[in-house]
């Protein structure tokens, strides 16, 4: 997907940034929000996202805040992370959004993404 990119900035404890386009039909709603926050919580890094690189930034580990954000299909999400595992965290999250939040891409879902 050419619409998303990941920019590792290999500096110690530096801010890592990246972005991804929301391509799944329902956007960042119930189930995608749960998947995103569950993934983010696996990392120690502080992870945030926003609609623009200037913010305002939202905690990617809070499902309540992610839902309040109401991101819909076609929006670009900008991510930033800080911490020892920030680079891996960012790579994993950008990949999740790029895949349209699919965990098993071959499975035909019974349920609308949500």
């Amino acid at each position: 997907m050419t619409t998303s990119r990941y920019d590792p900035v290999p500096k110690n404890n530096a801010m890592h940034t990246g972005s991804a386009l929301l391509t799944n039909d329902v956007g960042l709603h119930a189930r995608p929000s749960v998947k995103l926050t569950q993934l983010a919580k696996r990392f120690g890094a502080h992870i945030e996202f926003a609609r623009a690189t200037t913010g305002p930034w939202v905690d990617a580990k809070s499902p309540v805040k992610v839902m309040r954000f109401k991101a819909t299909k076609g929006e670009t999400l900008h991510f930033r992370a800080r911490g020892s595992d920030a680079a891996e965290a960012l790579a994993a999250i950008v990949s999740l959004v790029e895949r349209g939040f699919a965990t098993e891409p071959e499975r035909t879902s019974q349920l609308p993404q949500g």
Partner: protein, 540 residues
């Protein structure tokens, strides 16, 4: 002082009684007055709600569990209760603080432009009420006093059914819709109901008169209103006595033609106090109630035992069970599609079942097994093209073959279709169905291009307009030519004003809510088919 409020009638009838407001969260709680113990009360209610949800998830199918996991994720997030804890620190009681915090969160969902997002407000309400029930210690229902006029913003069908309506009472909703599930239940149970009153529930207290024929609620009625009510009530009581007596007799027209009366059932609990002798069977079992269970989609055993109970209630009378008719105005979270621009023209009824074959096969298996216990007829909703019926039939046959091969008793129930899409009505002769049932509510709104829930065009959605009568006559003739049964199961079937016209169109089987049987039989007795104007056949 007397106050009058006008709404829309959702179920006719009269009632006089004390208003009983039901907050959507229930119960009351005595606050401790100490911030620390209030905060602790909220924390333990939150953790109790979380363990409820975990228990539910364990009993759920995968798809339903995914929905509940969303609720768990929100509940586990400290951010959700942050405003409540702040309010408690500032002196609020735990339940008030929680209610207000969630109200604000819910408003954020409900004001969204995105339909899918708005629909998730239901999850927030669920979370709110679950925690609130633990806070108020009222995980059990507050009993509604007999004969009360229940006032609420809207009411969940399960709560309606939990109330004892046997000693009268009425339902008044400040919001709500006449086509909602709870409105349907009120009509079916004969509970007078008014919706869309557009006032604060807080304003509704004291003694009140409900005139649900006219959709009027009078709080603290004055002498004139009470005298009028007594008069109306007397007339209604006489009519009711006649109707109750008529209900137990066969339906026969003045010229001696017998009309078959069958019932519409939205929930098997409706049958509990009902004598099967009032009817010739069940013309429509809506199965959606099974799918609104919070514990997830019903499995084959749950469905089988429910269908079996209904079939056994009817003894040998036919029981027509409609396969899942979700979509349109009846969404089921996680099953029906979201974001459709016009759900009434979208993936609903059989279209949804064919798109979700696993869900459909489970239902077909349960129905074929229940058919061992009586006269089951399987009815497919929203059929549009003969091809859809052929696919459904081959799926049914395949499931029966699989059950038989596994040694599980099953029987091939007869398979028929609803006639509610104009395409199916116009080409009725092209469908190889074993029976027809005309769904006059949807057929009318599709033929007239007028939604029955849109007040401004409601007059156009008239099931007895010329186009409808002509179509009914055509479908009845198509059924006769194929030697199959045809009935009608929309609201018109139980409407005393429509009945002469329906009989004039050739219908001889009408399906209706149990509460309407008596009046319908009286209306039928007044019809003389020798003098009734037969509706015009299709011009050739």
């Amino acid at each position: 002082m007397e106050k009058r409020f006008a709404g829309r009638s959702a179920a006719p009838g009269l009632a006089l009684g004390a208003l009983f407001p039901i907050a959507n969260g229930t119960g009351t709680r005595v606050a401790s007055g100490a911030a620390e113990s209030e905060a602790e009360a909220l924390r333990s209610a939150l953790s109790a709600a979380l363990s409820d949800l975990s228990a539910l998830i364990e009993r759920s199918t995968e798809d339903a569990a995914a929905i509940l996991e969303f609720q768990v994720a929100l509940l586990e997030d400290d951010v959700l209760a942050e405003p409540a804890h702040a309010a408690i620190a500032a002196g609020s009681a735990a339940d008030q603080a929680w209610l207000q915090a969630l109200q604000q969160e819910i408003a954020g969902y409900e004001t969204s432009d995105d339909e899918y997002f708005r629909a998730r407000a239901a999850d927030l309400y669920d979370i709110r009420d679950r925690v609130l029930a633990h806070l108020t210690g009222s995980a059990t229902e507050t009993a509604v006093p007999a004969g009360a006029i229940v006032a609420a913003v809207d009411l969940a069908p399960s709560r309606f059914l939990a109330i004892d309506w046997s000693r009268g009472g009425a339902l008044v909703l400040t919001a709500g819709s006449t086509t909602s599930h709870v409105a349907m239940l009120a009509r079916s149970r004969g509970v007078p109901a008014i919706v869309g009153l557009g006032v604060d529930v807080d304003e509704l207290s004291g003694l009140a008169l409900v005139d649900a024929h006219r959709g009027v609620l009078i709080v603290n009625p004055g002498p004139a209103a009470r005298v009028q009510f007594e008069r109306d009530a007397e007339t209604a009581a006489t009519a009711r006595t006649l109707a109750t007596a008529a209900a137990m007799k066969p339906a026969v027209t003045a010229d001696g033609t017998t009309i078959r009366i069958v019932l519409n059932i939205a929930d098997p609990r409706e049958l509990s106090d009902l004598d099967p002798a009032i009817c010739d069977g069940i013309g429509l079992v809506r199965t959606e109630f099974l799918f609104h269970n919070q514990q997830g989609l019903p499995d084959e055993e749950q469905q089988y035992s429910t269908y079996r109970r209904i079939v056994e209630w009817a003894h040998d009378r036919p029981v027509t069970i409609r396969t899942l008719d979700a979509g349109g105005d009846k969404p089921i979270p996680g099953l029906t599609p979201t974001g459709e621009s016009n759900p009434f023209l979208g993936v609903r009824g059989l279209r949804l079942s064919l798109a979700q074959p696993d869900v459909f096969r489970t239902q077909l298996r349960a129905l074929a097994r229940a058919a061992m216990h009586g006269n089951v007829k399987i009815m497919l909703p929203m059929v549009t093209h003969p091809r859809e019926l052929a696919i459904a039939r081959s799926m049914l046959d395949a499931e029966i073959a699989a059950l038989t091969a596994a040694g599980i008793p099953a029987r091939r129930a007869s398979l028929g279709i609803m006639i509610e899409v104009p395409a199916a009505a116009i080409a009725a002769d092209q469908f190889d169905a074993e029976f027809f049932s005309i769904g006059s509510n949807d057929l009318t709104q599709y033929v007239a291009a007028a939604g029955r829930d849109i007040g401004a065009v409601a007059d156009l959605a008239d099931p007895t307009q010329p186009a409808m009568l002509r179509l009914l006559r055509y479908v009845v003739n198509a059924a006769r030519a194929q030697h199959i049964d045809v009935s009608l199961c929309g609201d018109a079937g139980g409407d005393a004003r429509a009945i002469p016209l329906l009989l004039g169109a050739g219908l001889r089987t009408l399906s209706m809510a149990p509460a309407l049987v008596g009046n319908a039989k009286l209306a039928i007795a007044a019809v003389d088919l020798r003098s009734v104007m037969e509706s015009e056949p299709w011009p050739t």
